[in-house]
């Protein structure tokens, strides 16, 4: 049978607990920055995807298919290592002197998740009767303004459940950042394991933290929906 003496003091006190806390901080920063940016980017792509202008629609379509159909890990490597080949040397030097690992992780997570968010928002937009757009346009709203003031507020509200899923996926996907040396939660849990051989404790702690973070994100988005997006209780 499974006989393992758990020793929680390893991950709850001292230096190793500090590592886990450091990891939690980085994971939160990484997730929050990427959630905000990917939501913005997703909105833009969704609107481009529904544009009347064919080339804009085409670009958005290409972006979606390309990003959604390549592995996230490959995208991490692309932004971190691949970008070096394209960028001028001066830019590379500037980036290397800074925390480019973190920035590359945010870029990869943002771009990857924005493609999924865009598709969710697009389905939200499509569920709004197209007469609303026609009515808005005939009332003198431009296309952008009709989107911003009439369509999107309703579409986003309808998209809340799938959006939550995307945000949760993003938070968990952020653990891939450890492959490019970002010291986030999973990275730190692994460090604790390799220093103490207390892998069960370290990863159990990390799992619980991801669970709590996911629940908090779900709660926050639901709260935002209830208080800000649908205060009148429209469903």
């Amino acid at each position: 049978m499974f006989k393992y003496q758990f020793d929680w003091s390893v991950v709850l006190t001292g230096q190793y607990a500090q590592w886990i806390v450091d990891g939690i901080k980085v994971t939160i920063q990484l997730s929050m920055a990427s959630i905000a940016l990917s939501f913005l980017m997703g909105l833009i792509i969704a609107v481009m995807r529904m544009s009347q202008v064919a080339p804009i629609r085409g670009v958005a379509h290409g972006y979606l298919e390309f990003i959604r159909n390549t592995p996230l890990l490959v995208q991490f490597f692309f932004w971190y290592f691949g970008s070096y080949q394209i960028l001028p040397q001066a830019v590379n030097d500037w980036l290397n002197a800074r925390d480019f690992e973190f920035a590359a992780a945010v870029i990869a997570l943002t771009i990857y998740t924005s493609a999924f968010i865009a598709e969710d928002i697009r389905s939200g937009i499509r569920s709004i009767p197209k007469e609303q757009m026609e009515a808005a346009r005939s009332s003198g709203f431009s296309y952008i303004r009709s989107m911003l003031y009439i369509i999107l507020p309703q579409a986003v509200r309808l998209t809340i459940p799938p959006l939550i899923s995307q945000f949760l996926n993003l938070t968990k996907n952020s653990s891939l950042a450890m492959t490019i040396g970002v010291a986030e939660l999973t990275y730190q849990a692994r460090q604790v394991e390799s220093y103490t051989f207390r892998g069960f404790e370290a990863f159990t702690a990390a799992t619980l933290v991801y669970l709590v973070m996911s629940l908090v994100i779900t709660g926050l988005v639901m709260l935002y929906d209830k208080k800000v997006l649908s205060p009148t209780g429209m469903k």
Binding site: F81, N92, G181, R190, S194
Partner: protein, 273 residues
Amino acid sequence: MKKILAVLLTVAFVAGLAGIALAEDTYDIVKKRGTLIVGTKDASPGFGYIDPKTREIIGYDCDFAAYLAKKMGVKLELKGVTSAARIPQLQAGNVDLIAATLTWTAERAKQVDFSYTYFLTGQKFLVKKGTVNSLADLEGKKLGTAKGTTSEQNASKALPKATILSFDDYPQAFLALQQGKVVAVTTDESILAGILGKAPNKDQYEIADIRISDEPYGIAMRKDSPKMLKFVNDTLLEMEKNGEAKKIWDKWFNPKSDQPMPRGKFKITADRK
């Protein structure tokens, strides 16, 4: 009662025989036999590996064994041993010496006798040529290594202010070095040499002569052979003096080789390290 006595006598007799056999110094056994049997690795590039052309074991360890046999005036026989079987093979008497990338540790020194250090390695730094001369050049910089290794722990101990990026594996750490994302890749020298040996532009990189952990290799023999120990140690010192030891090092680990490892300040001396 008689039976027990008989058993006891037999045990005593066998133990006595074994005692006599073991008490003989390995040096004398080898002289009598006319062949020195040395256990070496047979799949460790640079140290002991099979030459694809001749099918014979060659390498740094083998050249030392050959010199010892020549000095003794006996024939040399090389036997391939694995890491796990090295010390048991020696203790069982299947080989007279082991020269098989065996790191001196206090624990092992209780079981076998070690010669002076004839190869010194440890954790070092792979860097762009000419960029790093001392440990101080690395303090506060970004360093790359692989996850879950002791290399990382050694590095953070030696360089507390450095940022250590642990990648999934060494090729990525080396890529980060090539792109200037880290100033050095740090781990065991043999791994670094393996990376460097395969690198397409290896003349642009070097292993800096800074060591933050020690792995001294010694030639090991059974504990009951003070004559053999003295002979091996004297011969090693002689090889250092007449330049043979350096010649063998450069033959296998020169910058153009597949395992480029600089000898640096290392010399065979009567000290352990």
